[in-house]
Symmetry: C2
Subunit: 222 residues, 2 copies
Amino acid sequence: MIAKMDLRINRKTVPQEVVEKLRHAILSGIYMPGSRLVETDLCNSLGVSRPSLREALRSLQAERLIEIVPNRGPQVPLLSWRDAEEIYEVRELLEGEAAARCAVTIQEEDLKALGESLEAFRRAVVSSNSANELVTTTSDFFAIILRNCGNKIIEETLTGLKARVNFLRSRSMSLPGRANKSFIEMKAIYAAIKIGNAKQARKAAQEHVAKARDAAKSAFLR
Amino acid sequence: MIAKMDLRINRKTVPQEVVEKLRHAILSGIYMPGSRLVETDLCNSLGVSRPSLREALRSLQAERLIEIVPNRGPQVPLLSWRDAEEIYEVRELLEGEAAARCAVTIQEEDLKALGESLEAFRRAVVSSNSANELVTTTSDFFAIILRNCGNKIIEETLTGLKARVNFLRSRSMSLPGRANKSFIEMKAIYAAIKIGNAKQARKAAQEHVAKARDAAKSAFLR
DNA sequence: TCAACTGGATTGTCAGACATTCTTGACAAT
DNA sequence: ATTGTCAAGAATGTCTGACAATCCAGTTGA
């Protein structure tokens, strides 16, 4: 069977590539929160000019992945617990909504992909060798829900929070037992979506976020 | 009485100023949706260099105020009705939440400001000389609610939608009778916040957004 | 009529330069 | 010992100018 071919040619511009590389670097913790990013150094290690780099930095700034203080340059922002709490509050609203919508609109094919990503997460939980694996599979699971919620604004908003959410996930997933509980909650979301029960899907998603927040709180404040 | 002094020194950088000017220009309709923005022209009229301008364009792109197609440059995006609908859906969720939170947390001083901005809107409705006045006063009213909702993410998200929301407002406010209905709805939101009733505030805000969507729909599809 | 081509317009990208501002360490004053 | 002042060095803010890559429209030729 031939997979859907992606005909989009994406010739990436230099700033776009820089954004992706830096985003990945920040997310994987190469640059510690609070640390400053020196333009000249970045230019050298990335092999791009300062104007291109600075365009990329502006994009990352808009994504809240970095802060740019005038005359001090860019730095990776620190995440306070209150910041994290606010993120969970918004997630509870929007991911609940997304799951509910998804339950009614998702197509067979994407439902299958959702099931597979849940299975991938399960495998990551039982093998539990890599914290990173837990985060990416969780992230994939919710990304599929977002793609199928039928509202681009919700999708964009939560995608914009992904960086920080994954950062929080990497902390809470390391708590003993959290990954497994997380799996049970996600299974409930999947089940509700599968039977097309919007109300139940919203509730399950909101509960998951609430539990995730509690876990993150203990991981954060230790 | 001495007003609260703002001690923040805000020395603005060139790109920041460009962002503000272009944002204002786009919002006030100087650049029509779909029209292209030519970098050289913008540089000349703004009196800045291309690198500075391009940094500003990246910020505006992240705000979804412009689209940048590689090798074609920036342009003001067209807003489809589906796009608008999605915005109203998110507003219903987030502005409802914001109003509810605001009802419990707002301080005396800001409540007063909220009342004043409602009064300013009323005056704009009765004089009804300027559509622009209706939009800015409405926008101010909700901006105060957002500032006091206690969640920066919600505030940022809805602020990011402000451009397009105001565009839609300018259309629907021109419908006969809409401005007045809008005032009644906003008065209900204010009343609920004033008595600190979160549930009622959420409901009023959601109802307002729903009505605004209906109005926008008829204005949009005519 | 339609395909191919060509020239101008526009964007993508870089290098280099200089003014401005911040940081830091040293040194003087209280 | 703490505070204040100052200078050097580092980093950012911003511009100019240049050239390659790409797109678009009008022209040419079949």
